[in-house]
């Protein structure tokens, strides 16, 4: 049974460090089931086999949750900061090309690519829970919402002080990622609320 369990955990598509945690936890679970069956006069081997239930369902659930352990709040903020810098520079250089559409598409792609794994599922979990500190998904979104503006303010100040440029154009594309993030937040918050009520 322990070899079967080890093979099962090794085959899971989850981070390597989480495999050790899951294996230790499930091994303890199976051992507890075995001990309990022995105490009650039942067949310990049958109890151990039954303890884990449907392995396919367990696999689906674990593979949905475990990858999120890769992402800490600081990790998400760091990803958001890098994405913000790239987005700010993209809009700054390409903001007026083809009415900004290229910059918008590119900046949205950057925001999606830089997002931590399973951001949407994480966001749903974070919005479902009340009064829990901001998690990695919200941290990433808020960083991407505010980060580009910090870079642009720095660029405006630098151009004003060093190059003497005292005017700046603000293309609509500068707000595209911002609006997309708020839209996602509003949609998911409403969804979380509706599911809670239902």
């Amino acid at each position: 049974m322990s070899e079967e369990l080890a093979r099962f955990v090794a085959s899971l598509a989850i981070p390597e460090d989480r495999k050790a945690v899951v294996l230790a936890e499930l091994s303890d679970h199976v051992a507890c089931a075995r001990e309990s069956a022995a105490r009650d006069g039942r067949d310990p081997d049958a109890a151990a086999r039954a303890a884990l239930g449907d392995l396919a369902a367990l696999r689906r659930s674990l593979e949905a949750v475990e990858p999120a352990f890769r992402v800490s709040r600081w990790h998400a903020i760091a990803r958001g900061a890098v994405a913000s810098l790239v987005i700010a520079l993209l809009i700054d250089r390409l903001g007026s090309l083809w009415l900004g559409s290229i910059a918008v598409l590119a900046s949205l792609a950057v925001a999606v690519v830089a997002a931590p794994p399973r951001t949407r599922e994480l966001l749903r979990a974070e919005l479902r829970v009340k009064r829990v500190p901001i998690g990695p998904a919200l941290a990433y979104l808020f960083t991407v919402i505010s980060g580009p503006f910090v870079v642009w303010i720095a660029l405006i100040v630098e151009r004003g002080l060093v190059q003497g440029i005292t005017h700046c154009d603000v293309p609509w594309s500068a707000f595209a990622v911002n609006w997309a993030c708020w839209l996602l937040l509003i949609v998911e918050a409403i969804r979380a609320r509706v599911l809670q009520v239902a």
């Binding site: 499930l26 303890d28 303890a51 449907d54 369902a57 367990l58 689906r60 829990v132």
Partner: protein
């Protein structure tokens, strides 16, 4: 015949309520809930551990490594301060739902 499908979100509330009484490992938690349900509920491990891990990710519970009497490693879960607040809120919400259903469907 025990039910093995707990309504969406209810398992979280049950886990939080059980942990509000003290730190426990997964197996003990499942058996405690089943004992309390007096044979009307079967906790599926396929839902229990992912639910525990999701609550851990959200910061509502935390895990610590200990050793079982035979020396094997064991993860024991307990509520965080934020988790205690979440447990209270979820308990109140599910009790309100239960009251509503009782009123609508008849006791």
């Amino acid at each position: 015949m025990p039910r093995d499908v707990v309504p969406r979100g209810a398992l979280r509330a049950l886990v939080l309520a059980a942990l509000a009484e003290g730190a426990q490992h997964g197996y003990a938690l499942a058996r405690r809930l089943e004992e309390r349900a007096r044979g009307t509920l079967k906790i599926r491990e396929g839902s229990l551990y992912p639910a525990l891990h999701e609550l851990e990710l959200e910061g509502a519970i935390e895990a610590a490594w200990t050793r079982a009497p035979d020396g094997r490693r064991r993860r024991v879960y307990s509520l965080t301060r934020a988790g205690r607040r979440v447990a209270k809120t979820e308990r109140a919400e599910w009790l309100a739902v239960a009251d509503m259903l009782r009123a609508l469907l008849g006791a």
